[in-house]
Amino acid sequence: MPDDRSIELKIQHLKTAKSAYILEADASLARGLESAGMALFVKAAELELDLAGLFRAQGDERNAQVSLRSAGFCYSRARQYRRAGNVFKQMAGQFADVRKWIAQNKDKDDLPLASATPGLQALIDLLVTKGVIEENEWAAALAPH
């Protein structure tokens, strides 16, 4: 069984790694690199969920809630709305922005992740390379209307 010191080290490593993913994801979306940003935000969400689990294992619910909130918003920024909603449903309702998000987005579904479908990603890359579409246009086009 891992001791407290090794759990603490794992928490610190996870915090550094997911912070790097979030910063890179945020920068990618700001540059209009939609598919890269979405994939990075999904990875950041998964690391935040790992963190939440470690905090809960330590009985630290306050920090678990902070990580769950961040994980949910990472999924939301990756347009994985169903996954975001599933995370937010685990929460105690401490954060006003989470309550607002649930009220506004509870019925939305996940958008496809291009990176999870190599054929789709290759097609998008080709269209972007040929100047047919901008990198950030495909997700909007695939969104349910």
């Binding site: 912070s19 945020d26 920068a27 540059r31 920090n63 918003f73 990472c74 998000w101």
Partner: protein, 176 residues
């Protein structure tokens, strides 16, 4: 007056990858002066420091200039200013012994920076070239944003840091 070498940012904030913030900070500061860049920091209600103001002479080496060139080629002006502000905020926390920026979390439209393993959250903003009133106005806006923010309302204290690169002035305040 305190001297600070920006190459120490990674040592003072080891949990974050600070290279980008460092490069952007050099890119913005060198538009106004050669190294060292003298920054006024106006301090309000800080938790560790009793200081009401500080002047920081911020120095950098030629290697940082080369990385700043890349940052200028990579980022649009607004992003460059935002990341440069995070760099100078990290400098202010280090020289005032106010804490370490340890983590980034996500919120609905942006990101939260956390100090000392979630002791407090920090709102950061940068102005490329403002006028005499710009800093105070932006600081008031960011303070309102902090107070209405979900983390602050859930009981986490917060800091606000705003820097005007052109005026070489900044404000760091603590709110609980």
């Amino acid at each position: 007056m305190v001297k600070y070498d920006i190459e120490n940012l990674g040592v003072d904030h080891p949990a974050l990858l600070t290279g980008n913030f460092q490069a952007c900070a050099v890119a913005r500061c060198r538009e106004v002066s050669a190294s060292p860049y003298s920054l006024d920091i106006d301090c309000h209600n800080l938790s560790a420091s009793q200081t009401s103001s500080e002047i920081c002479d911020l120095a950098w080496q030629n290697t940082s200039e080369a990385i700043a060139d890349k940052a200028e080629n990579t980022y649009q002006p607004r992003r460059l200013t935002e990341d440069a502000a995070i760099g100078l905020c990290a400098v202010a926390f280090a020289i005032l012994h106010e804490g370490e920026i340890t983590e980034v979390t996500t919120q609905e439209t942006g990101v939260d920076y956390w100090v000392d393993d979630r002791r407090a959250v920090v709102e950061i903003s940068g102005i490329e070239k403002g006028n005499v009133g710009s800093l105070g106005k932006r600081h008031s806006e960011k303070e309102k944003q902090l107070r209405s923010g979900s983390s602050y309302q859930a009981g986490f204290p917060g800091y606000v840091f705003v820097v005007d690169f052109g005026q070489k002035k900044s404000t760091l305040s603590h709110h609980r």
